[in-house]
Symmetry: D2
Subunit: 357 residues, 4 copies
């Protein structure tokens, strides 16, 4: 169960970065959904390495193959297995970490937990695993499309550079630039900053904001599986994420209740709220307003500099950065955030079918 996510639309991912392949099995996709394969590929392309100068120059085509669950272009209700072969298996790039613990990576904790690990390129802990999530998320998005739900994530902050609040942005412009920030002026500065950090052989973090529109009222479960709690878990399960907030978030703690409460009004027979500090979720359940949240990504741990560490025997060693890595994970994180959000929403859409007799 450790490698599965979702209760009714359940994905199980597998694969190490330098094994033969990674992949995902989706169990619970209802029958009859048209599976648009070019769309799945386009989502994978948004995540793949080597797509611009501010991402890693490593090359992976990330071409997927569907092994089951789709017949004559439509889902059959049986498990959809998707495999993505690993191409760029230059193990020698990673040989130095077999006996060395890279700072702020998972090398040490995996060794402690399992005793035996695939150390090549981070193995299972590599962010390469997220390609499988994006493929599955693309299918989730196809289901959401039928319901009219849209999910748009974008880079809202890199270092200190912040984009305007989401309601002031045209989210259709996110893909217009390589940093995936829909505000052109901020995007330009972000790109320059990331490029500079790259030249300094360093890395930088920031925020991804995600906005979900047109969600039906009633998604989410009241106690433990609150809609925002599942969104939080889904986001925190992405590599390098350190924080999650939705609606008014951390800043909301500074308001008084009288300022923070979202008063209701009637708009053409529909119950709406005047403000949306709730972020579209009340009591763990969607109220039909925009769901929006922020995801905090740390600066990625792999830097092109020397760092002090220990080896598996406890001896002090110097770890030297090499290989091809992302100076900033945020542009490639955008489709991952969207994929995980889509998986959460689809799961709750199915669960909502069960709430009444």
């Amino acid at each position: 169960m450790n490698n599965s996510y979702g209760s009714l639309f359940r994905i199980s991912t597998f694969g190490e970065s330098h094994g033969p392949a990674i992949g995902v099995v989706i169990d619970g996709c209802p029958a009859g959904l048209e599976i648009d394969e070019p769309f799945i590929q386009s989502e994978l392309n948004r995540r793949k390495p080597g797509q611009s100068k501010i991402t890693t120059q490593r090359k992976e085509d990330d071409t997927f193959k569907i092994l089951s669950g789709v017949f004559e272009g439509k889902s059959t209700g049986t498990p959809i297995a998707i495999v993505i072969e690993n191409q760029d298996q230059r193990s020698k790039d990673y040989g130095h970490i077999a006996e060395t613990y890279r700072p702020s990576h998972a090398d040490y904790t995996y060794d402690a937990k399992y005793g035996h690990r695939d150390f090549r390129g981070g193995g299972r802990s590599s962010a390469r695993e997220t390609a499988a999530r994006v493929a599955a998320g693309a299918i989730a998005k196809l289901m959401l499309l039928k319901e009219g739900v849209t999910i748009n994530a974008f880079v809202s902050q890199v270092g200190e550079l912040k984009a305007p609040y989401y309601t002031q942005l045209d989210l259709s412009k996110t893909e217009d630039n390589i940093v995936r920030c829909p505000d052109p002026a901020t995007a330009e500065k972000m790109i320059a900053l990331i490029d500079q950090v790259r030249l300094e052989r360093d890395t930088i973090g920031g925020l991804v904001t995600c906005v979900i529109k047109n969600t039906p009222v009633g998604l989410g479960e009241p106690v433990f599986d609150k809609l925002h709690a599942e969104l939080g878990k889904a986001m925190l399960s992405i590599n390098a994420v350190k924080g999650f907030e939705y609606g008014s978030g951390f800043e909301g703690t500074q308001l008084r209740g009288s300022q923070h409460n979202d008063e209701f009004y009637n708009e053409g027979g529909r119950t709406r709220t005047k403000t949306n500090h709730s972020g579209g979720v009340q009591g763990g359940i969607s109220n039909g307003e925009d769901i929006y949240f922020n995801v905090a990504f740390k600066p990625v741990a792999t830097i092109m500099q020397d760092q002090q560490s220990v080896d598996t025997s406890g001896n002090a060693v110097t770890v030297s950065g090499k290989g091809r890595h992302d100076p900033c994970v945020l542009p490639r994180a955008v489709p991952i955030v969207e994929a995980m959000a889509a998986l959460v929403i689809v799961d709750f859409l199915l669960r909502a079918r069960l709430s009444k007799i």
Copy 2:
């Protein structure tokens, strides 16, 4: 499954605020654990209403009764059912919400989801449900005690008033004041602020910080069930929580990778990190350093003021605040945060028994 939490040490809560009782069934508590009933009661007392002038004046004894799973003072490995009877069932206090949607409460979303709800006192959406969590969490704490793990939460911020960073505090002093902030000077100001807000018939939010010490290395699962992802979900499932961050959190996004990485060193044969921006978790798995995280609570939605809203037929109405409510949920949230953290850690302790042959 909606009302259950945990995979191996699994709790299932039940009950509405104004029904006969609330309770919890714990399935998966290993046999042989000494069940210290006075300790369970003391944890419930930390959460119960009416304990100080800055909490609600509502009175509930929150006396629990164990119905099963304990024999001769020790757990038997069978389900432990705990029931807490509801005493303060003054339904008339809540009659006004039968047909009215209180702003930023769950009234509207429950109605939309279920069509039929127990509206008395919030019913299932009432924070009263968390008493069941605290009872179960107390048993989880008894298991952790045997492993030497300690969990300490405290109020680290109310409105703009912030306590010093946790390493500068003596966490044993948290219970010394009614706001549960271990820094006496800040505590005094916090209490005054909450009292003032109460007089203004308003509410205020803030942060609870939680610190977990002496966790074994190797807790957490690598992909979806990362240790911090589960902690995040657990915290976000608590009423009024809007955000979660661990380790360097949102501020960590401002650092460069070269500043943020935690270099390893060897301390007496043990692999340790010089800094702890990772918050004790690397790749989703505990590394033995302190686990610490912040939980953001919004100002509670029930205020003693008039607010605009709609009724179940969509008509505009005025909702008037009445009853006895918390001006600030944070002091009573401390034991809830600890309980949920204990449940997460115990669950991963059991899961860790499965990682190697």
Copy 3:
């Protein structure tokens, strides 16, 4: 999870035979179901001890109380907790088993598994636990009633005495006699046989047959959670059950494929089968024909005779039968079989809501 059953309509039972109470929490009952409390009680009465001369003379009222999840007579979609207090707690009746392993009971295996057990009256291994299942099953039956599905179990064999095949019986007559066999002539002989066995201070086994009518086409999942596989597990989880067969069952192995296959025909636009060796299930999924199956119960282990055994230290001891026990478990097993069948069918009814987009 060990004490839970069902995936979407999930029950979790708790309680030992001689603790304060037993009970069940139902999570996943859709909102809006009318909860007919007298019906629940009537189902419990069919299972309770002391109801006739051929059952144990032990007295338990088995009065239940609903603690949550029901408001104004209807389910709210939140967990329904039901508690049944234990009345007949004469622990001295059972004191002799604290250090002795009763033959073919669970005393020895519980001790080996848990190290610490509630030995009073079998504790958790007592068939008393099934009262909780019957209460939950009654609610499942209320849901099935709305769908037109009927479930009828009856005693079809005691020792060598067999009732006619189910299609030759009037199943509405099952409750007309104390052995719950709808064939009056066979019932009379069965009662005489059980009474004779009782006088011999011995016990006797037999079969319960269960027939489910009007199931919608499409219930069951194709691979592991086949409809008959779940029915099998549910039945085998009942105390004293040793075997399960559905449709043609064990006898079907004697037929050739050409004899066994159920040919299809069209009846008024509905696809039907001429014969029903399939027992209403094909490829794990219901086809709309009658679902029928047999459940084999061993003679109950508690006999009023001396038996050889060992104590917890491995010394040879003689176990003497005493107390008040059932000479034949079958009449009281009928409502339990029905309850478990109802739980299985309701769960699959909910799962069927998920099969198509």
Copy 4:
């Protein structure tokens, strides 16, 4: 979840008989297990078609490939994905079933459930799916080998031909003949009978018996997940299975309690039973004696004869048998029964790690 089995050692299978591949993902295999690939292949060879004159003459190599979870010959604790490509994709053999419902197959029920199905060769309902179970079961067997647990299944009955009781057989001889019955005289008769049935273009059923030795005491969970209940479900989930009984089974219903009870005695410090009507399981938990059970297989539905049926529009049609099919599924079912039994036992071995503090 529909296509997953097991709680801690969990397998998820995927694939249709005529898609690109079938496969399985194992989540929960502890790290450090040596993965003997030739052994996995030898298990697949026992199940594969075309292995003798009494099985289908269809050819599939059933060569597997491990995509993840194994490094340097040992499991890493991450998901083990195994893929088996489909070779024999002669779709034309199966074209006739696109619009026709074959008697006692899953064609009709799949159509009713999903609306859209892969009809080629039975698609997901094909017994080809069991190859994935055998591959996963082989890994489970590798874990059991380390614990000394052995699992031996064999064909104990074909039509009316019965092998002697298992204790009178040398189970090491099962693989000595093509019908997999360890009694040479019975085996010879069985082979002749199957061959005759094949010439009659018909099919025949029978029993597989399975014996598990050296199981530790304490496996199984007391209430719903009783050891024998899980074994029952696992067996009933195999295609063509109609019944399950363990220990004394259906015949045990004919004994009196005084005959059926297994008295305890002490053998060299170990608590044992003189008889074993319990089949090694008491109260749902293993007692260390042999676990044995029977699995009833119907005659397979595909026969080389004309049968009456309907098409998808309800018109009467004649279905003509063609293609290459098994006249008797039992010889190839033996490794499948063993695989499912191994998966059940390994899962409970892991669960047993959780029973005590």
